[in-house]
C-alpha cells in the first residue's frame, strides 16, 4: 500500500527541502485531500527546520534521519536529530499575550495543531507525527505526548 522512505541528511536546509519534496510526492501519489496535504507539508517543514536549526544547530557534521510511511489513509513521519533535545513542557506558549510578539517558537504549536498525533521521544530529539487522510482543517491534536 505504501513504502517506507528513509533518509539520512546533513544539517543543511536544501537537503531538508529535498526530503520534504520526496514525502510530498508520496502524499500526492495517494491523492491526499487538500487539507491533509497542507497539514503534512507544514508539519514536515517545521520539524525539519527544528531538527536542522534548533536540534543540530546547523552543524553539517550532524545528521538528521527521516522515516516516512504514506498509505492511502494515513501518513507517519519520524524525524530525529543529534542535538541536545528539549523538554516540550518547558516551551512557552506562543499564543500567550506576553509571547505574542516573540519572533520564534511557533513551529511546535503548528505541528501539534495540524497533525493528529505528535510524540516527542528520546528527550525531544525524535518526533513522531501522524496525520490521517481526512479533510478536517487541522488535525487538532494539540496534546503532545512526551516520552523519555
Amino acid at each position: 500500500m505504501g513504502r517506507r522512505l528513509r533518509f539520512i541528511i546533513p544539517s543543511v536546509f536544501a537537503q531538508g527541502q529535498e526530503v520534504q519534496k520526496r514525502i510530498m510526492a508520496e502524499v500526492e501519489k495517494h491523492h491526499y485531500c487538500e487539507n491533509a496535504a497542507f497539514a503534512i507539508k507544514l508539519a514536515v517543514e517545521e520539524a525539519l527546520i527544528n531538527a536542522i536549526k534548533h536540534g543540530n544547530k546547523l552543524d553539517p557534521h550532524k545528521t538528521v534521519s527521516v522515516e516516512a510511511s504514506v498509505t492511502p489513509t494515513r501518513a507517519e513521519i519520524i524525524i530525529e536529530d543529534q542535538g541536545a533535545g528539549f523538554d516540550r513542557t518547558k516551551v512557552p506558549d506562543p499564543r500567550a499575550d506576553e509571547n505574542l510578539e516573540r519572533l520564534h517558537g511557533r513551529g511546535i504549536l503548528l505541528m501539534e495543531a495540524y497533525m493528529n498525533k505528535v510524540q516527542w521521544l528520546k528527550g525531544g530529539r525524535r518526533v513522531r507525527m501522524v496525520r490521517r487522510n481526512d479533510d478536517s482543517p487541522g488535525g487538532g491534536c494539540l496534546s503532545c505526548v512526551q516520552n523519555p
Partner: protein
C-alpha cells in the same frame, strides 16, 4: 515607483506601499531572510511607513515567515507607521488563527478593504 526585489512586486497607491508576494511558498529560510531584508528596506526608507502586504498568491507559509512578519510589524510601529495584511486564503488564515496572530495584525479580506483602513 520602487524597483521590486526578488519574491516581491511593489506598487504604490497614494502613500501606501503595496507589496505582493510573487511566490506561492513563504517557507524557505533563505527566501524569508531575503523578503525580510526587502521589506525592512521599504520600512526604513519611509518616515511613517504605510505598508500593505497582499497574500493573494501565497499557498504556504512557515513559522519562520510569521516571525519575519512580526519583526516587520514591530519596526513599522517603532516608526509610527501602519501595516495591513490582505488577501489571505482560508488555509493560511487558519495558521494566523491557530497562532492567535490574527489578534496582532490588522487583516482585511481584500486589498481595497485593507486600503480603506489606513488612518
Amino acid at each position: 515607483m520602487p524597483e521590486s526585489p526578488a519574491h516581491l512586486k511593489i506598487t504604490q497607491e497614494g502613500d501606501v506601499a503595496i507589496v505582493e508576494f510573487t511566490e506561492s511558498r513563504i517557507l524557505d529560510e533563505v527566501n524569508i531572510t531575503e523578503i525580510g531584508h526587502a521589506l525592512g528596506g521599504i520600512v526604513e526608507s519611509r518616515e511613517r511607513p504605510r505598508l500593505l502586504l497582499d497574500f493573494a498568491n501565497v499557498d504556504h507559509l512557515s513559522s519562520a515567515a510569521l516571525g519575519m512578519l512580526i519583526n516587520i510589524n514591530n519596526r513599522i510601529k517603532q516608526r509610527n507607521g501602519q501595516l495591513r495584511l490582505a488577501g489571505i486564503k482560508p488555509q493560511i488564515m487558519e495558521v494566523f488563527v491557530i497562532t492567535k496572530l490574527n489578534r496582532l495584525f490588522r487583516i482585511a479580506p481584500s486589498r481595497s478593504e485593507a486600503l480603506a483602513t489606513f488612518e
